[in-house]
């Protein structure tokens, strides 16, 4: 990198222009809503150089691991921009593996996704069927996710396509964004060995806010305990009807306390709204030294953030937050005649626009979405078996129900990169994808 025409002897700093990506959420209204992606411009120092006698400053740097497309590079001296250049990070994509039986997880990696409109989202086409979109808002342009090999033995196409609004913009080469590349791959399905076992793709725990923390903005408000009082659930997250161990200390000695479940319920006067609610689980008694250990049966409830509360009468004593994960209860039947229906039951769907719905693909083709609406976190998917004899895959992905992105985004579409780049992660939401399968018979 060379800057010319500078003042000899001056020290210049080279700065890399980029942006920090984040998700703006509305947590102030008592609900938790996704609003939009926010990219805040910023600069990163690359290094310094001294201008030589010819007014030239030269430096070498490695391209940062960053968003794709053009980044301005500034030479800054004495706090002022004295020269400007640019560097383009190209988009690159791989899939792995490239062959395997039906159900093989295919890891797709894309680097160099941008942060500007039309540069920041891509769609996945499997045999020309739209299967969802990828994002790289908080991952600095890198998207890593999985789909599964589907269809009869033979070659199948996987196309990673630039997306205008999360939907592939098929002739983008004729648009103002013609510079964006598309990627075509062939995956060979080698065999159909029958339905693979169900699996759950969980969120990348290293990227999510720590569970057991008080949730900002959520309706389920935890209380501030008196000094020395603590309460935790182990585990602090799990599905409906799971068990957790409550451990507390610093409590009043030998006291009988109410063990309450903090939740939300649909407002009877406005079913679209949710209001705080409390359910009594049981009564417990602390030890003479103010400790408590109790088994807690997590209720069958809406998913998301809750808390178990120890209370003395009307007074809250201490809370232990709990995150209820979504879970698949059943897929029935597993062997389905062509044209017959099968049912997938899911529990623990949440009450916010971040976690109340799922987007569903069938053999990697998006077929629809489901929003939990009846107030108990249940989602029942009744689907029809299609596609001929053999194994067929159903993948259930997180989604964003709606938002106000300046450039329309993938509302209600499969959020393929949920594990690393989902809006709810900053609030501790831990959403999973469910990988399911059936065998279709004629």
């Amino acid at each position: 990198m060379t800057a010319e025409g500078l003042t000899p002897g001056q020290s210049v700093e080279f700065q890399w222009a980029t942006a920090n990506g984040s998700f703006k959420l509305d947590t102030a209204s008592g609900a938790v809503k996704y609003e939009q992606r926010v990219f805040k411009p910023r600069r990163i120092p690359l290094g310094r150089a001294t201008v030589d006698a010819q007014g030239k400053a030269t430096a070498t740097f490695a391209a940062p691991d960053d968003f794709g497309e053009v980044h301005e590079i500034y030479a800054v001296a004495a706090g002022k921009d004295v020269a400007q250049g640019g560097f383009r990070i190209l988009r690159y994509a791989t899939i792995s593996p490239t062959e395997g039986p039906v159900g093989t997880p295919i890891t797709i990696t894309v680097t160099g996704m941008g942060w500007k409109p039309f540069e920041h989202s891509m769609g996945v086409l499997y045999d020309n069927k739209y299967g969802g979109y990828m994002s790289a808002v908080t991952t600095r342009g890198t998207a890593v996710f999985q789909i599964r090999a589907a269809g009869p033995p033979g070659q199948h196409t996987i196309r990673l396509h630039s997306a205008g609004k999360s939907v592939p913009y098929i002739n983008i080469q004729q648009s103002p964004f013609s510079y964006l590349p598309q990627f075509n791959f062939i995956f060979t399905v080698t065999d159909d060995k029958g339905p693979p076992p169900d699996s759950v793709d969980k969120i990348d725990g290293s990227r999510v806010a720590v569970a057991n923390a008080i949730v900002p903005g959520a309706i389920v408000k935890t209380t501030s305990a008196a000094s020395g009082m603590t309460a935790t659930l182990d585990p602090a997250l799990g599905p409906a009807l799971s068990k957790a161990k409550l451990r507390a200390q610093g409590l009043p000695p030998s006291a009988q306390l109410d063990l309450l479940w903090l939740t939300v319920q649909k407002s009877p006067n406005a079913p679209a709204n949710w209001t705080p609610a409390t359910a009594t689980l049981t009564k417990v008694t602390t030890t003479p030294d103010g400790a408590l250990t109790a088994d807690v049966q997590i209720p069958d409830d809406v998913g998301g953030w809750h808390a178990v509360r120890l209370a003395a009468g009307k007074d809250a004593v201490v809370d232990a937050p709990f995150y209820m994960e979504r879970s698949v209860v059943s897929v029935t039947p597993r062997r389905v005649r062509m044209g017959d229906t099968f049912t997938i039951k899911i529990k623990g769907a949440g009450w916010t626009e971040l976690d109340n719905g799922v987007a569903v693909t069938y053999d990697n083709a998006y077929i629809g979405n489901a929003i939990a609406q009846d107030g108990n976190g249940d989602i029942t998917l009744t689907l029809t078996a299609t596609g001929g004899s053999g194994t067929h895959l159903i993948d259930v992905y997180p989604l964003i129900q709606s938002g106000k992105d300046k450039t329309w985004w993938g509302y209600r579409l499969p959020f393929l990169t949920f594990a690393q780049d989902f809006p709810g992660m900053q609030l501790g939401y831990r959403l999973s994808a469910f990988r399911l399968a059936i065998e279709v018979t004629e």
Binding site: Y130, H156, S175, N184, P271, V360, G368, G388
Partner: protein
């Protein structure tokens, strides 16, 4: 709702005035029991509590229900009104703004209460929008009683079988007007095939998809859903939303291939001289057609033996909706010639590559404008190439003359009835070229390009969330509008284009 028989206490011959009105309502006459609807001034005082009931209170279009009323004035002549709507798209300015349903109360019939203030009438549910309708019984223009009738939706698929490429018609009747009633979507073998609307078609939605896949049974499903099927209907706040499942059997036999590209799309419309033309005029024949076709410019009343040129007007530049700015106005000559001694003109030119829309043309003599005319460019399918190849083959499809409005500039692509994405025409001046890798089993595969809407626009022609704010129109953009033919929001002559590609067995 059409009355089939009125059983009021007083039966009189139908008046000519009532007859005119009722014929417009597709009155179903009963020979055994002539309809008794006539004006009568001999009415008693109106009781305070009038009521009507319907039995049954729900049914499909064409079903019969019985309307019973009581508590009306003795011998009163009553008007029975049916809540209905006139649907329209607000696409002023070339972009979607809203769906508009203007409510109206349609007179169904007149009935006469008996001496006790009661009446009974059998009526047939009329064609129209579905879901809940209010039936109002009025006397002298005043509402006396209401009851609700729920019009059940119906769905039909025809035919039930055929070889690959068979065009399958999906018809919905009784589509509603409310947000969770008016958008319906079609799945083909669990692939999203498109969206059906019935805004301007009085509740009837008709869409056509292509039979694809290997021989055997294939499943078509119709779901309610803005944008995509609501798969959680069992737990929906409106569990009454129906779904339908149909089986289509792809038979062995010769595939039915779509017409060659050049035979698809709207036919050219012949041009004609302006009526009552006085002075210099020009007109184009045809007046509407395709990029590259021959057009004859004709004129009369022009200066004799004058050297003239025809300037074609358009706009150039990137799509302002995605790139900002404006498309610059441009004008360029498409043909030059010389007028005849009698002041007439006849010259031929080829329609230039341009966006679909009405393009003004100006006949110029030097810098003097002599007369203006116009030509409407319509979309055309140009080519698909190659016609066959193994999986992974780059299939190239080209369209010309695609419109530049937000409701006309995109085509939404399906591959074997699976939603693939969209393509836009504006920056490329009406040209759409798409590349699709061939996929699927060896055999014929079908690629359809449907009209649809890009996104809602605000006052400046730019993207606007104002339309979205009510959330009712959040999800109807960039999806295939299967009902484009009769219910397109704006342009009424944008076709769907259908192509076929043969996947060969070899490995690429």
């Amino acid at each position: 709702m059409r009355p089939t028989q009125a059983l009021g206490a007083t039966r009189k011959a139908i008046s000519s005035l009532a007859l005119i009105g009722l014929l417009g309502l597709s009155l179903v006459m009963s020979a055994a029991a002539p309809l008794s609807v006539a004006r009568d001034d001999q009415q008693g005082a109106t009781p305070s509590r009038s009521a009507v009931t319907l039995s049954p209170a729900r049914g499909p279009i064409g079903s019969i229900t019985t309307l019973r009323g009581n508590g009306f004035a003795a011998n009163a002549s009553l008007d029975v009104l049916w809540q209905d709507w006139d649907g329209s798209w607000d696409a002023s300015g070339g972009g979607f703004k809203a769906r508009v349903y203007k409510e109206r109360m349609t007179p169904l019939t007149q009935v006469r209460a008996d001496a006790s203030g009661a009446f009974e009438a059998r009526v047939e549910v009329p064609q129209g929008f579905g879901f809940e309708h209010q039936i109002v019984v009025a006397q002298g223009g005043e509402r006396r009683a209401t009851s609700a009738f729920f019009v059940e939706m119906q769905a039909r698929m025809t035919p039930q079988n055929g070889p690959p490429g068979t065009l399958i018609t999906m018809e919905l009747k009784g589509v509603g007007v409310q947000p969770r009633e008016r958008d319906w979507v079609v799945l083909y073998d669990n692939q999203f095939a498109g969206w059906m609307s019935a805004v301007t078609t009085n509740g009837t939605a008709t869409g056509v998809i292509t039979a694809t896949g290997g021989p055997g049974r294939h499943i078509l499903e119709v779901f309610q859903g803005p944008y995509f099927p609501d798969l959680n209907a069992a737990h929906s706040p409106d569990p009454a939303r129906p779904t339908w499942t149909f089986e289509f059997t792809v038979t062995d036999g010769q595939a039915i291939l779509p017409p060659p590209p050049e035979q698809q799309g709207p036919k050219p419309i012949a041009g004609a001289p302006p009526k009552d033309a006085k002075g210099p005029v020009v007109w184009l024949d045809p007046a509407s057609g395709y990029v590259g076709m021959d057009v004859t410019v004709r004129g009369s009343g022009l200066p004799a033996n004058a050297d003239v040129r025809l300037d074609w007007q358009t706009n150039f530049g990137p799509d302002p909706v995605v790139a900002g700015g404006i498309r610059a106005h441009a004008s360029f000559p498409v043909v030059t010639g010389k007028t005849a001694a009698d002041g007439t003109l006849r010259a031929t030119f080829k329609v230039p590559e341009d966006v679909g829309r009405v393009h003004p043309v100006v006949l110029m003599a030097g810098e003097q404008s002599l007369a203006t005319g116009e030509f409407k460019v319509r979309p055309k399918a140009n080519f698909i190439t190659p016609a066959s190849g193994p999986v992974g083959t780059d299939i190239t499809i080209n369209l010309k003359g695609v419109d530049d409005t937000d409701t006309g500039k995109i085509f939404i692509i399906t591959y074997d009835n699976a939603w693939t994405g969209y393509a836009c025409s504006v920056t490329s001046q009406g040209d759409i070229t798409i590349h699709i890798p061939a996929s699927g089993k060896p055999g014929w595969h079908f690629i359809n390009l449907y009209p649809g809407m890009y996104e809602p626009v605000g006052g400046q022609g730019m993207f606007s969330y104002e339309v979205y704010d009510n959330m009712e129109e959040f999800y109807i953009f960039r999806v295939p509008q299967l009902t484009y033919l009769a219910d397109h929001p704006n342009e009424k002559d944008i076709p769907a284009f259908r192509f076929a590609f043969f996947v060969t067995g070899e490995t690429k």
